[in-house]
């Protein structure tokens, strides 16, 4: 059966590899798109930051003409005193006894920036006045800090850096796995029915279970490759942004040891198997591409929901969670990226995904053996 399934899979791969456009869209585009996107975002943000920094702001000062404050404000922004009130170009600083109000219109990003800078200047001004009061009372600020507070994180460095990866990597991997699987599934199921080649495929010597399995193998491998190229593209994008615009590296990549990559890959294969097998079944139920889209889309939505709600959660301890496809994968990946290897949860996740995959492959092969699969109208 597996040898026959490989004939189906090889044919689909051959078709994919020979289509330059599909190859570029499926695997090449994420590798190019993300670095370009991140570079673009970096360029736009740095240009915008520079514009805000160099802009001249109109500031209406009410009851606050203290030169010390004006000097501090001058360190933060370029400004001209005016009486224009609040607009997209001007801002009011209104002092009333001990209260100071900064009145601005946040629909302009520049005014939002100016308001924050004015707030910084006011805090410095407040500290300056407070320091003078303390000196008059014979004190200084350091003497008032009775307790020296510091946070010491004893977690290994790989866990500290892995926290960010544990949030983003499972999310990105599974998101693109869902997207990759969805686009390919429709072509090999409902698309094949629409092209009239499906019934011809069924009139030959190999079992229909082999056809179902071959199509599932193809989608599993392609969706994983698509997912990897997306993560690589994003990683590349991050690195380019960091190199061009400064900032610390988002994470220490030494967390990805060969063993960890292998563990992650196994989990990704098991998640992809469930997603692909489910989508192949639903795509095969559809009579045409349009219907196929509406059958497969809910899987994508549910998958997205599962990934988003678990994005900021810690890996669950209850074994029940490791029986839920996608959720189990996110939790196991999180643990792995934080340097923890939970053997029972890991095995339970693999087992659960294997059972779900087998059930859907079985349902698909049953469907291929039934008359329902021939329906095209």
């Amino acid at each position: 059966m597996f040898a026959d399934a490989l004939i189906i899979m090889r044919k689909e791969f051959k078709n994919l590899f020979k289509s330059k456009r599909t190859m570029i869209m499926t695997f090449g585009l994420p590798l190019i798109l993300f670095p370009v996107l991140f570079t673009g975002i970096g360029l736009v943000s740095s240009k915008s930051a520079l514009e805000k920094e160099n802009a001249v702001y109109y500031v209406q000062l009410e009851n606050l003409q203290d030169q010390r404050f004006l000097d501090l404000l001058n360190e933060e922004i370029n400004f001209i005193s005016s009486d224009q009130g609040v607009s997209e170009y001007s801002i009011i600083i209104r002092k009333n006894n001990e209260s100071v109000k900064v009145i601005y219109n946040s629909s302009s990003q520049k005014m939002g920036y100016a308001a924050r800078k004015i707030e910084d200047a006011l805090v410095k001004y407040n500290d300056l006045l407070a320091d003078q009061k303390l000196i008059r009372a014979g004190l200084n600020r350091d003497e008032l800090e009775i307790i020296d507070i510091s946070l010491i994180d004893q977690a290994p460095e790989e866990v500290q850096t892995g926290e960010i990866l544990a949030i983003f990597i499972p999310y990105i991997l599974i998101l693109f796995l869902l997207i990759g699987a969805m686009s390919l599934v429709l072509d090999v199921t409902a698309g094949e029915k629409e092209r009239g080649t499906f019934s011809i495929l069924l009139v030959n010597q190999i079992s229909r279970s082999s056809i179902a399995l071959g199509k599932t193998f193809y989608v599993i491998i392609c969706s994983i490759l698509n997912s990897f190229s997306s993560v690589l593209g994003m990683g590349l994008g991050f690195l380019i942004t960091m190199r061009n615009y400064g900032g610390e590296s988002i994470a220490d990549l030494s967390v990805f040891t060969p063993l960890k990559i292998l563990q992650l890959l196994l989990i990704l294969i098991s998640i992809s198997s469930v997603v692909s097998a489910t989508m192949i079944y639903l795509g095969s139920l559809a009579r045409n591409l349009k219907e196929g889209g509406s059958y497969v889309m809910p899987v994508y939505m549910v998958g997205l929901f599962a990934v988003v709600i678990t994005m900021n959660m810690e890996a669950a301890t209850g074994v029940f969670y490791y029986a839920i496809p996608l959720v189990n994968g996110v939790f196991v990946m999180k643990s792995l990226l934080l340097g923890i290897f939970p053997p029972m949860n890991y095995l339970f996740c693999l087992l659960s995904n294997l059972i779900f995959t087998s059930v859907f492959v079985y349902l698909t092969s049953r469907l291929y053996n039934s008359e329902r699969v021939l329906k095209t109208v």
Partner: protein, 244 residues
């Protein structure tokens, strides 16, 4: 050889079932073209799909080379070549790769596949475009490849479901010549069509399918004489009128 005895087939509807075939019987011998004529929804495709083991009969029997299609599905499929007018090859695979794929699905060895591809390529004049992606081929070229796919394993039984549907005159001619050639090679052919001229030109036997039953069956001259009509078209409309 194909033998159908008292075949019944129905499909589920939202309420009840739709009976498509109601006791259909026919037989086609080697070297014979049996032409099944009928309007849309008369059960032509259902008949072919039942012979091809894609559908299971509700009642009656279907034999291909004396093998019951419900019992010996795999063996039956090995002797069938199935060509439909709905088949639209697409994608980046070349004609050669499609033929290679279907050869493998029919459990042919590498050298047998190569030999058969060369033979079909020469017979159907496909040498110029066999190595081009099917996406870049004309409808006629694609139809030649579809014919070759149905013949890659050299089947003795050929099932043709409106094979000239949507084809221009040149592409239709390719199909017609192919059917004639299969007949001379002694193959058993069942051709479903609603084009009267095709049936008149090709058929050894004609079956007019009205409401799931053969309203007339036999050679063209026999059925015209029996029903006192001069042309197949007149006979068809007469029987279709009765059926309604």
């Amino acid at each position: 050889m194909i033998r159908i005895e008292n075949l019944y087939k129905s499909f589920p509807l939202k309420k009840g079932r739709k009976e498509v075939l109601k006791g259909l019987s026919l037989d086609a011998e080697p070297g014979e073209i049996f032409c099944l004529l009928g309007s849309n929804g008369s059960g032509k495709t259902t008949t072919l799909q039942t012979i091809a083991t894609l559908l299971k009969p509700d009642g009656g029997s279907v034999y291909v080379n004396d093998m019951d299609v419900t019992q010996k599905g795999k063996e039956v499929r090995s002797s069938l070549g199935f060509l439909t007018g709905e088949m639209r090859l697409a994608g980046s695979l070349t004609g050669r790769e499609w033929l290679d794929f279907f050869g493998k699905l029919n459990r042919m060895g590498k050298s047998d596949i190569q030999y058969k591809i060369e033979e079909l390529s020469s017979y159907l004049h496909m040498n110029d475009f066999l190595n081009k992606p099917v996406d870049k081929l004309s409808t006629g070229m694609k139809q030649k490849i579809s014919i070759a796919i149905s013949q890659i394993h050299d089947p003795q039984i050929i099932l043709l479901d409106e094979p000239t549907n949507g084809l221009d005159i040149m592409a239709s001619r390719i199909v017609i010549d192919f059917i004639k050639d299969c007949k001379t090679k002694g193959k058993t052919i069942i051709l479903c069509t609603h084009i009267m001229s095709e049936a008149e030109k090709l058929a050894d036997k004609i079956g007019i399918l009205i409401n799931g039953k053969l309203a007339a069956s036999g050679s063209l001259s026999d059925i015209l004489t029996e029903n006192h009509e001069d042309s197949l078209e007149d006979l068809f409309f007469k029987l279709a009128g009765k059926g309604e």
